[in-house]
């Protein structure tokens, strides 16, 4: 009978173990989130990441080995971005009836996200490469990676900053919007989708279906707008 360590070293070579553990961590995290009544601090992305980071640390597995398995999940970000056409299509009639507020919220949120982030980072003395990496952090991951690459930033760090932005947005959105006394679910959803992309959108869907739909609209349109605006805004800070 083979030793457990032998079985581990066999499994650790292939992609199956880390692909499976990524899904297991997410299922556990989702159950925890459900148990906590979807409280914002019980964010499934945050919990899954902490679980997996702990497992990598305990087994001394390098991130590149982990990613060989997890890349199959990561790859789906591209098709998922394309699939954002579905909520946009479904919200077509709504979007038409609220086109001016949507465009106002989108432009304000998008410009403020990029300008304020770059202004703070510039004031804190961050390098131009970090500024280029930070500029697209409010857009969805595959888009942010693409923008960071074309601006001369770091693509892996861009993905990391996107995730952090999403988690921050998902955590603060409900208390922040309550404090502002904004009750329009469309405004609440759109602003979160623009500022905090997919993680914010996933959070908005948990809170209210209208908010989720508008968050999807905000995230989809902001991907296009930030791609167009970020290069020009970045030039102001270099």
């Amino acid at each position: 009978m083979p030793e457990i360590a032998d079985i581990w070293s066999y499994l650790a070579q292939g992609p199956l173990i880390w692909l499976t553990l990524t899904l297991v961590a997410y299922v556990v995290a989702d159950a925890v989130a459900q148990f906590a009544n979807r409280a914002p601090w019980a964010n499934p992305v945050l919990i899954s990441v902490l679980l997996l980071a702990g497992m990598l640390w305990l087994t001394r597995t390098p991130y590149t080995t982990y990613f060989e398995g997890a890349q199959f999940v990561h790859f789906l970000l591209g098709p998922a971005t394309v699939a954002l056409a579905v909520p946009l299509y479904q919200q077509g009639a709504r979007l038409k009836s609220a086109i001016l507020p949507v465009l106002a919220g989108l432009s304000a949120g998008s410009v403020v996200a990029v300008v304020s982030a770059l202004w703070i980072a510039h004031a804190m003395g961050l390098s131009p490469q970090l500024l280029a990496t930070l500029a697209p952090k409010s857009t969805t991951a595959p888009v942010a990676i693409g923008i960071a690459q074309s601006l001369g930033g770091s693509t892996t760090l861009a993905a990391v900053l996107v995730i952090l932005t999403g988690i921050v947005g998902a955590l603060i959105a409900t208390p922040l919007l309550n404090a502002l006394r904004i009750t329009d679910w469309r405004a609440r959803g759109l602003s979160v989708g623009v500022a905090a992309h997919g993680i914010g959108t996933a959070r908005a869907f948990q809170v209210n279906p209208t908010a989720g739909a508008y968050a999807g609209i905000g995230m989809g349109l902001n991907a296009i707008l930030t791609a167009l605006l970020a290069p020009a805004i970045l030039r102001l800070f270099l």
Partner: protein, 117 residues
């Protein structure tokens, strides 16, 4: 289902190709999204086939961020003192962007008399 999935991948491929060929700042999947949106709006039967598959992919959108998120841990130690600047920029700009977006939406909705149906 397989046809809808094929169409989604074809849209992404077309988007990637156009984005590369014309050296556009807009990433391929975003062009693919715009293309799929246009196709769904033009052909209703096609939209009916794509909707359930697209909803299926988006239902667990959070899961798709996990692999990149695990990369956070390795980066934190490398950034050193710059990590503080990045954290502050992300925190403050996200708060400001949500406030600006929500207030701008509400203000213009009030001006134009737009209400949620």
């Amino acid at each position: 289902m397989i046809r809808a999935l094929t169409l989604i991948l074809l849209c992404q491929l077309a988007g990637e190709t156009v984005s590369r060929a014309l050296a556009l700042p807009v990433p391929g999947p975003v062009l693919g999204m715009a293309l799929l949106w246009a196709l769904m709006s033009a052909f209703a039967p096609l939209a009916r086939a794509v909707v359930p598959v697209g909803e299926g992919i988006l239902r667990h959108l959070s899961l798709l961020f996990v692999p990149a998120g695990v990369g956070v841990v390795g980066h934190v130690s490398q950034l050193g003192t710059q990590a503080l600047g990045l954290a502050l920029a992300i925190l403050v700009s996200t708060v400001l962007a949500i406030i600006a977006g929500a207030l701008a939406f509400v203000a213009v909705a009030r001006l134009t008399g737009s209400r949620d149906a």
